[in-house]
Amino acid sequence: MEIAVCVKRVPLVGSTFILTDDAMAIDTSRIGATLSPHEENAVEAAVRLIEVHGGSITLFSVGSAQAEEQLREQLAIGADRAVLIETEGTEIDSQATAAVLAQAIDQDTTDFDLVLLGTESADSGGYQTGIRIAHALGRPVVTNVKGLDITDNKATCERAVGAIREVYEVQLPAVISVLDGLNIPRYPSVPGRIKARKKPVDRLSIAIPEPTTIRTSLRVPQSADKGAINLGSGQQGAKALVEVFKQIGVM
C-alpha cells in the first residue's frame, strides 16, 4: 500500500501570540514551529497501515525550506521519503496549496492508494485542502475522520457528528482527512531519528498559482483571561480541586 501524507509547518504558539507589524502574519521571531496536530494523527495512521499492509509512506509539504525540520521529524516516526515544494515562506491560500499538492502527488512516480491529511491546518484553518486535492485527483474524499480501517482495498471511515457516529465506506484510491482522537501519535525514537537523517527529502519546483483568496489583515480576537488559577496546596488544594471537579460535572 502506497500512502501520501500532506503536512504543514505551523507556528508553535502559547496562550497568546503577536502579529507582525503589517498584521499579515503571526510574528514567529521569538517562537518555534511545529506540525499541525491532526497531521500527526495522519502520519501515525499511515505508519500503522504500513505495519499491517506493507508499502511505503511519502510526505508532501508546501512551505519554507525550514519545513524540512518537520518532515525529518515525521520521517523519524516511520515515513520513508518526503517531497517539499519550497515557497518563500509566505502563507498561500487553500486553492493554491491544494493545486500544488495535487500536482505533486499526481506527477510522483508512485501511484498512491491513499492520500491522508489533517482536516485543517492549525494556523489558517481553511478546511479545504483535502477536499480540493480529492477533486483535483478525481478521487472520493472523507473528512473529519476519527476511525479508520482498511480491508480489501476499501477504507471504513468513522466520524462523529454530535452524539452520532457516521460510518463511510470508500473505495481506494481515496483522500481522507483526519482529526485528533483517531489515534495517539507515537514519539520518534532515537534510532528513528538516526534513520531519518538518511531518508530523502526531495525538493520539487511547482509554480504557485495566483491566490484567489486575498488576506487583507489578521486580528487577534479578544479572549477572556485564561491564566492558571492556583487552587492551593496540600489538603486545602485537594478540597478546592474536588469543588472544581463537581462544577464541571466529572464527579
Binding site: G14, T16, I18, I31, A33, E69, Y187, S189, V190, R193
Partner: protein, 839 residues
C-alpha cells in the same frame, strides 16, 4: 497578585532557585521588609530553574565554586529535597583519565570525600545499561545527587513569609528600576512601585534587560542547552523511586544521561553554541511551554544521538522507546564562565546574583545575603565579583564571542593556564608592537594582552641548561615554556624590562582622600609625600580583599596600583569608602597610564645612564617614589619590586611609553638587559621571595596572622577589618602559610611531574591535613623557584605541621610526591635579608 508594599528594604527580582535562596537567607539574617517579585507564576515562573536537570556533581577545579556547591548540597539536604544518587563521569580517552586524577585532587583539596576512580567493569556493575567496552574508566562521586529545586524554592519562600519578613508577588513584571545619584531608589512594577534601598537581580538570563533599566549592564547571554527525555524504558518500569541509578556524564562527548522515573534524560553541551539576545525570549504567555523552553532543534543533536547510542545501546537503541520531551532549554552564559555576584560597580544598592547553576544556588543565596547584611560572607567568592569586568567586556560582541568559546569547555579538560582564543589583541599595551617583535607569547590579564615570555629569549634556555628545570610531561608543559625560568635567571644575573601596563591604576584625591585611603587599607597612609606602601585590604572578617601598593603623591593625592585581573574590584573596595559629600574622588588612570618595570642587579646602571636625577640608594631609597626625567620624558618612578630585586616601576602616559621602552632597551644593551614576561615577573620571582598572591594565598578565608603578614603596629585610625585583625593578632593562628620544596618529582611512570597548584597536601602516608576550622591544606601556589633550583609550593598548614623539615607529600595525577616544609611564615627563601631589593 498580592498587594505590594510601597516601601521595602530590598526588592529581590526573580523566584528561581537563586532569588528564593536570597530571600530565605536575608530573612534568616534578620532583614525585614523583603519583597520578591517575578513576572511568571509560582511555583515555576518559567526561568531556567523550571527546566533544570537538577543534578549536582560537586567536584570542580575552582575552590570557590566547590565551596558554594558543597554549601548548597548541605542546604538542599536540610530541606529534604536532595536524593543522593551518586554520579559517574566516564572517560573515552587517556587524556580524560588523567583529568580524572586531577578531579580527584580537586575533590580532596576542596573537601569532597566521596570520590574515587572506577574501572569499566566496576561502572558496568553500577550502571548495567552502559557499554563498558567503549570506556576506559570513570570518576565516581557517591555524594553527587539530584535535587528538587522548585520545591526547595517554595520551602524557602514559605520560611521567610513565616518569619514575617517577605512579601511575594508573582505575575508581577518589573517595568523600571529607578536610580538617583548612582543609588537605587525604587522599583516600578505593573503592580505598583516600591521604594527600596537594595535591588537584587536574580533573574538568570533576563539579567541584562533588568540591569539596562539602571543604566548598567550584566554581561551574560541566554544560551541553549539541549536535552531530551526518552521513555518509558522497560528496564526502569520497576523503578521504585525517581532516581535509582547514578547520573552518568559522558565527558568526552560533552553529554550526560540520567534515569529519571521510567525515562532516560539525555543532555548535551556538545552542540554548536546557540546564543540568544534577551529580547528574543518570549513572554510567559507567548511561549508554548515556558519562556526558557525553546523548541528542540534536532539537527543540532544528531551527533549526540549517535554518542548516546554508543554508550547506552540497550536503551537508546530500542525503537520502541520514544522521545517524550525535548527542549532547547535556556540558561545563562558568562564570558569568563563564572557567575556575576555582588554589588554593581556603578550603582549603589544594585546587586546581581546571575549566571548561577542549580548546584550553587542556595550557597550563592547565602553568600549574597551575608555580604549584604554582614559585609562579608563565610565563603570567599572574589572570582565571581560583578565589579571584575573591564568596560569593553560589556560589549555585546565580546559577550557573544567568549560565551560561544566557553560553551564547549563546560565538560572540557581546561588547563589552569588555558588562554582564550576569540577576540584577542583588542586591549593592548602601547608596547605591543615592540613585544611582538620580540616574539612575545601573550596571556590575557583583565582582558589585556601581557607577555608571558619572549621567544627572543630562547637562547637563554641553552645558556642556563638544567637550571631552567625543563619539563617533559605534556600537561605541565602546556601554556608554559622553559624560557620563563631562563628569563628569571637572567633577570637575577643582569636586569630585565617588563611591561606592567595591565595594572589597574587609580587616584584618590580631594580633601578627604587620606581618610578614604586610611579606611580602605591596613597600613598607615599618613606618610610623607613620596612614600610607596605595599598594603593588604581586608574584609570585615579580617580576611583579604586585595593587596596592592599606594603611592602618596601629595597631601590629598594617592595613587593606587594593583593587579589587572582583579583591580576593577579593588577599585570598588576603595569607592565603597568614598564620602557622600563629594570631598574625595576616585579617577581611573588604567587606560591612560603605562607601567614599565626595570629590575635586576644592573637596573640602577641602566637607569643612571639615561637620567640626570639621583637614583642612588641614598637618593632614591626603597619604597619611595618621585618624578624623574629620563631623556626628554618626565616619569613617575617608584622603587618597589615584586621579583625581589633592585629596581623601579616607571609610570608615564601611554603615548610616551614606547619612547621610554626604546631608551631603556638601548641603554640596557651593555648591561645584559632582556625583556621578561609575567611568567617570571609575576610568577617565579615572587614565589621564591615568598610574596603572597591575591587569589592564591590571599582571600577572605585566611587572615593576616595566618598569612604571616603581621605588621609591627596597628594604626590608630579605623579601617575595614581592623577589629578582626586586632583579635587575630591576639590569637594563635589556626593555620600557617608555609613554603615547601618537592623532594622527588619522579612519578609512578618514571616521568618527572611538576604540580601547578591547588593539589592536596597530605602526610607521607596520604592523610589529609585539616585544620581546626575544617580547612584543608592544598597548594595555594606551585611553581618553579629557579634560583633555588627547586619546585616550590605554598600552603597553609595546621600549626602541628608548620615546622621546617616536616616531611609531607603532594598528591599529583595519581601519585604522591614527597615534599618538605622549607619555610614557615614569610621570610623569603631567596635573599632572606632582602639585600638585593635594598641595595
Amino acid at each position: 497578585m498580592s498587594a505590594l508594599p510601597s516601601k521595602a528594604k530590598v526588592v529581590v527580582i526573580g523566584a528561581g532557585i537563586v532569588g528564593n535562596s536570597v530571600v530565605y537567607h536575608l530573612a534568616k539574617l534578620g532583614w525585614k521588609d523583603i519583597v520578591q517579585v517575578d513576572k511568571g507564576p509560582l511555583p515555576n515562573p518559567g526561568g531556567s530553574t523550571g527546566h533544570a536537570s537538577n543534578f549536582i556533581f560537586p567536584v570542580d577545579h575552582s575552590k570557590e565554586i566547590s565551596e558554594l556547591t558543597l554549601d548548597s548540597m548541605r542546604q538542599y539536604k536540610e530541606f529534604g529535597v536532595f536524593v543522593e544518587s551518586g554520579g559517574i563521569e566516564v572517560a573515552r580517552t587517556p587524556e580524560r583519565m588523567q583529568e580524572f586524577h586531577r578531579r580527584l585532587q580537586s575533590a580532596r583539596a576542596f573537601g569532597i570525600d566521596h570520590s574515587s576512580l572506577l574501572t569499566p567493569e566496576e561502572i558496568k556493575a553500577i550502571v548495567p545499561y552502559i557499554d563498558e567496552t567503549i570506556i576506559l574508566g570513570g570518576f565516581q562521586t557517591t555524594s553527587a545527587g539530584v535535587v528538587d529545586s522548585l520545591r526547595m524554592g517554595t520551602l524557602m519562600r514559605e520560611d521567610a513569609i513565616e518569619k514575617g519578613a517577605l512579601t511575594v508577588s508573582a505575575n508581577t513584571e518589573v517595568l523600571d528600576i529607578v536610580v538617583e545619584d548612582d543609588r537605587i531608589k525604587s522599583v516600578v512594577t505593573d503592580n505598583g512601585a516600591i521604594e527600596c534601598d537594595y535591588v537584587v537581580i536574580a533573574t538568570g538570563c533576563w539579567g541584562p534587560k533588568l540591569a539596562a533599566m539602571t543604566g548598567t549592564s550584566i554581561p551574560l547571554t541566554p544560551a541553549v542547552h539541549q536535552m531530551k527525555d526518552i521513555g518509558p524504558v522497560p528496564m526502569f518500569l520497576d523503578a521504585k523511586s525517581d532516581i535509582e541509578y547514578p547520573v552518568v556524564r559522558d565527558m568526552d562527548s560533552n553529554m550526560y544521561e540520567r534515569q529519571h522515573g521510567t525515562g532516560l534524560e539525555i543532555g548535551s553541551y556538545a552542540h554548536r553554541p546557540i546564543l540568544y539576545k534577551v529580547e528574543d525570549i518570549p513572554s510567559n504567555a507567548e511561549a508554548a511551554l515556558s519562556p526558557t523552553e525553546f523548541p528542540f532543534t534536532q539537527e543540532d543533536f544528531d551527533l549526540q544521538d549517535e554518542h548516546a547510542l554508543e554508550l547506552m545501546p540497550e536503551i537508546v537503541g530500542d525503537e520502541s522507546i520514544g522521545e517524550k520531551y525535548a527542549i532547547n532549554g535556556l540558561l545563562s552564559l558568562i564570558p569568563d564562565g563564572m557567575p556575576i555576584l555582588g554589588e554593581a560597580p556603578t550603582v549603589k544598592g544594585l546587586w546581581s546574583a546571575s549566571g548561577v547553576w542549580i548546584k550553587e544556588g542556595p550557597g550563592v543565596g547565602r553568600a549574597m545575603a551575608e555580604d549584604m547584611v554582614l559585609g562579608v560572607s563565610e565563603i570567599d567568592w572574589h572570582g565571581e565579583e560583578y565589579s571584575r569586568f573591564q568596560d569593553f567586556q560589556f560589549s555585546h560582541e565580546y559577550i557573544q564571542a567568549r560565551c560561544a568559546e566557553g560553551f564547549n569547555k563546560m565538560y572540557g579538560i581546561v588547563h589552569p593556564s588555558e588562554q582564550w582564543e576569540s577576540l584577542r589583541g583588542i586591549r593592548v599595551s602601547p608596547l605591543y608592537e615592540r613585544e611582538k617583535a620580540l616574539g612575545a607569547f601573550f596571556f590575557e590579564a583583565g582582558g589585556m594582552e601581557r607577555p608571558q615570555w619572549y621567544e627572543a629569549n630562547a637562547p637563554l634556555v641553552a645558556k642556563f641548561g638544567d637550571a631552567v628545570m625543563p619539563r617533559t610531561a605534556e600537561w605541565e608543559s602546556r601554556w608554559w615554556s622553559p624560557i620563563i625560568n631562563a628569563e628569571h635567571l637572567q633577570l637575577r644575573e643582569t636586569c630585565a624590562i617588563a611591561d606592567l601596563t595591565a595594572f589597574v591604576v587609580f587616584d584618590v584625591t580631594g580633601p578627604k582622600a587620606l581618610d578614604v585611603v586610611q579606611h580602605s587599607v591596613v597600613r598607615q597612609m599618613d606618610v610623607a609625600v613620596g612614600k610607596t606602601i605595599y598594603t593588604p585590604v581586608l574584609a570585615p572578617n579580617g580576611g583579604f580583599k586585595a593587596d596592592l601598593t599606594v603611592m602618596r603623591l601629595g597631601k590629598n593625592h594617592f595613587r593606587v596600583v594593583t593587579g589587572g585581573a582583579h583591580g576593577m574590584a579593588d577599585k570598588k573596595a576603595f569607592a565603597n569608602n568614598l564620602p557622600a559629600d563629594g570631598t574625595a574622588h576616585i579617577s581611573d588612570l588604567t587606560s591612560g597610564m603605562a607601567t614599565i618595570g626595570l629590575w635586576g642587579p644592573n637596573a640602577r646602571k641602566v637607569l643612571e645612564s639615561i637620567t640626570t636625577d639621583d637614583v642612588s640608594n641614598e637618593g632614591f631609597p626603597f619604597a619611595s617614589n618621585r618624578l624623574i626625567e629620563i631623556g626628554n620624558l618626565r616619569v613617575l618612578a617608584s622603587r618597589i619590586s615584586y621579583v625581589g630585586e633592585l629596581g623601579w616601576e616607571l609610570y608615564l602616559p601611554v603615548e610616551t611609553a614606547v619612547a621610554l621602552w626604546d631608551m631603556i632597551w638601548e641603554a640596557g644593551a651593555v648591561h645584559g638587559l632582556i625583556a621578561a614576561g609575567s611568567g617570571a615577573t609575576a610568577g617565579t620571582g615572587r614565589l621564591e621571595k615568598s610574596y603572597r598572591a591575591y587569589g592564591n594565598e590571599l582571600e577572605t578565608s585566611y587572615n593576616m596572622v595566618e598569612a604571616g603578614m603581621v605588621f609591627p603596629k596597628v594604626k590608630a585610625q579605623d579601617f575595614v577589618g581592623k577589629q578582626a585583625y586586632v583579635k587575630h593578632r591576639s590569637e594563635e593562628p589556626i593555620a600557617i602559610l608555609c613554603s615547601l620544596f618537592i623532594d622527588d618529582h619522579t612519578s609512578s611512570t618514571g616521568e618527572k611531574r611538576y604540580p601547578l597548584g591547588w593539589e592536596p597536601i597530605v602526610t607521607r602516608e596520604g592523610e589529609l591535613l585539616i585544620d581546626s576550622k575544617g580547612r584543608r591544606s592544598f597548594a595555594n601556589s606551585a611553581g618553579s623557584a629557579p634560583s633555588l633550583g627547586k619546585h616550590l609550593v605554598m600552603s597553609y598548614l595546621p600549626p602541628e605541621y608548620a615546622k621546617v623539615g616536616q616531611e609531607l607529600a603532594i598528591e599529583y595525577m595519581g601519585d604522591r610526591l614527597p615534599c618538605t616544609v622549607a619555610l614557615v611564615g614569610s621570610k623569603p627563601l631567596f635573599d632572606p635579608e632582602n639585600e638585593r631589593v635594598r641595595s
